[in-house]
């Protein structure tokens, strides 16, 4: 039995007020809130055993090294990688994707080569490939989004794959539409034409079971802060054979085995890609976050978010002045709902929500090409759900929508205009 009230007890911020009203947090696609379990783990590290990892030959350093290394083991299991050697810590999803573009991408992409992404990418899985294409004189192609089903257009995928792209980079879940792409199929088709596949897991890994061996991707990028962990820690999974063949980006401490005056040898994976002192508290916080998620169960979280999404869509459908975007088939839909209140700009919507103590997001959501396609004003409002949200919060959001519409279009407005 999923007890959302019990889960909410674990998140201190959910007891806070915003603008004097009980907080309703519907912006977890931007960043998630943190449970005591994570906050306390970081607190304990600094209070009880803070020491640099790998080098110190004393108890505290051994303990911090052990915690940090264990966090990699846990991430490995969480995404079902073959070895912790495939788990590279970075700051966030964006840095993970840039790291691939700047190392592996620089190595394999040559002038005239094709790189394939999709029209539903976040800027983090778009701009690094634009930059790579500019550096190398390569061509960046897009798989189209079908604006009726809000899914990737598979005919367009086939057409683009005929160009034999060397790299295919695709998001698992759209941060605007909530669409869950059939990533296993895309990876299979991309591999059949010889491409290497990177999956942007920023919106999937926190919300559902993602198994890198099952989907068979070559790279997977995700952020700790969207999955109950702290900011500043993210992860790049890379297939070991590929990482072995790829040169590191940064040089410095920890990434080397030996250094002489004019030469050096690289350290083992994954440390080869992690120069300098690591984000130790980040690793420890991410470990705690995954332990917490595992305790609740990823399938339970997915089911809970699905029920919330279904309820929210039903409530929003009752309002004829509200348009929602994204697939109606809940089996391919994550807990993200972008919406529009007719005739009201999304920023004004978000501001009125704020006055009701409700946090949502408004704007282009770092997906300007997609949002420009969706709506003429290139901005939408978005609510997104996580394991701690409840139906009563969706009711509060619907009340805020009604208030917004009244302020902008209500009778008193026309009274005032006369």
């Amino acid at each position: 039995m999923y007890d959302v009230d019990k889960i909410r007890e674990d998140f201190p911020i959910l007891k806070q007020k915003m603008r004097g009203k009980p907080l309703v947090y519907l912006d977890s696609a931007a960043t998630s809130q943190k449970p005591y379990y994570v906050i306390d783990a970081i607190d304990r590290f600094y209070k009880e055993y803070n020491a640099n990892i790998h080098r110190g030959i004393y108890e505290f350093s051994e303990r911090s090294t052990e915690e940090y290394t264990e966090s990699k083991e846990l991430v490995k299991k969480f995404i079902n990688a073959r070895s912790y050697r495939e788990i590279i810590y970075v700051r966030n999803t964006t840095e993970a994707i840039n790291l691939v573009a700047l190392t592996y991408g620089n190595k394999v992409i040559e002038e005239g080569d094709h790189i394939l992404i999709t029209e539903m990418e976040h800027h983090s899985n778009l701009v690094p490939w634009q930059l790579l294409a500019e550096r190398k004189g390569a061509i960046l192609d897009y798989v189209k989004v079908d604006m009726n089903s809000y899914k990737l257009d598979l005919e367009s995928l086939e057409k683009e794959l005929e160009k034999k792209p060397k790299i295919v980079a695709v998001t698992h879940v759209s941060n605007v539409l909530g669409t869950v792409n059939d990533i296993k199929y895309i990876t299979k088709r991309a591999h059949e034409v010889g491409a290497t596949v990177l999956v942007d897991g920023a919106q999937s890994v926190p919300h559902m079971k993602v198994d890198v061996r099952d989907i068979d991707c070559d790279f997977l990028a995700f952020s700790g802060h969207k999955m109950l962990g702290p900011t500043g820690i993210g992860c790049l999974y890379g297939r070991e054979e590929i990482l072995e063949e790829t040169e590191p980006l940064y040089g410095g401490g920890d990434m080397i085995m030996t250094v002489e005056k004019h030469s050096h040898t690289w350290n083992e994976l994954p440390w080869k890609f992690e120069a300098g002192t690591s984000n130790i508290e980040g690793g420890i916080g991410l470990k705690a976050a995954i332990e917490y998620l595992n305790k609740i169960g990823m399938d339970n979280i997915k089911q809970h978010e699905r029920e919330l999404t279904e309820y929210a869509l039903k409530r929003l459908d009752e309002l004829d002045y509200v348009t929602t975007f994204g697939p109606r088939d809940l089996s391919v839909r994550a807990g993200v709902i972008s919406f529009e209140i007719n005739g009201v700009h999304p920023h004004d919507v978000a501001q009125i929500f704020d006055s009701e103590g409700i946090a949502i997001r408004a704007g282009h959501h770092c997906a300007m090409p997609l949002v420009t396609e969706l709506t003429r004003i290139a901005a939408v409002s978005r609510m997104s759900f996580y394991l701690y949200n409840k139906k009563e919060e969706i009711d509060r959001a619907v009340e805020a929508i009604e208030k917004t519409y009244k302020i902008f279009k209500g009778d008193d407005l026309y009274g005032r205009l006369r």
């Binding site: 700009h345 920023h347 004004d348 704007g363 901005a379 902008f408």
Partner: protein, 130 residues
């Protein structure tokens, strides 16, 4: 502390929303002496301002683009105000003066929306040599 309900009603006061529904000076000016396209980096809203100058005064000023009620309201009020004024006065017009003019306090986040028109106008005038 002021109730957030009162604050929101003040922000979305009668004037701002009526300007949003019926903006002033929202059109393209043919053969403008100066124009500038400015965007709000926070949200991507884009506003283009057009200015006609005569005898160092603003003869006509208009704008085009998409924006929220705060940015469109502010642009309507500011362009009404700027017409006929010395270009030097508009070049030096401060954010504080603008806030006094539009009679709302947009708060730190929405300040970018309210001042979009001012930034566009001043950038257009800085390019204008005359």
């Amino acid at each position: 502390m002021e109730d957030s309900d009162d604050e929101i009603k003040k922000l979305y006061a009668e004037a701002i929303i009526s300007y949003y529904e019926h903006p002033h000076n929202k059109r393209k000016l043919e053969s403008a002496d100066a124009e500038f396209k400015e965007s709000n980096p926070v949200c991507g809203d884009v506003l283009t301002v057009y200015i006609k100058v005569k005898d160092k005064k603003i003869e006509d000023i208009s704008f085009e683009g998409q924006g929220c009620a705060i940015s469109i309201g502010s642009a309507s009020i500011f362009t009404d105000f700027a017409k006929g004024k010395d270009i030097e006065l508009i070049r030096k017009f401060s954010v504080k003066e603008l806030i006094d003019l539009i009679k709302i306090d947009p708060g730190p986040v929405r300040l970018n929306c309210a001042t979009l028109i001012l930034r566009a106008t001043q950038k257009a005038l800085s390019k204008y040599k005359g």
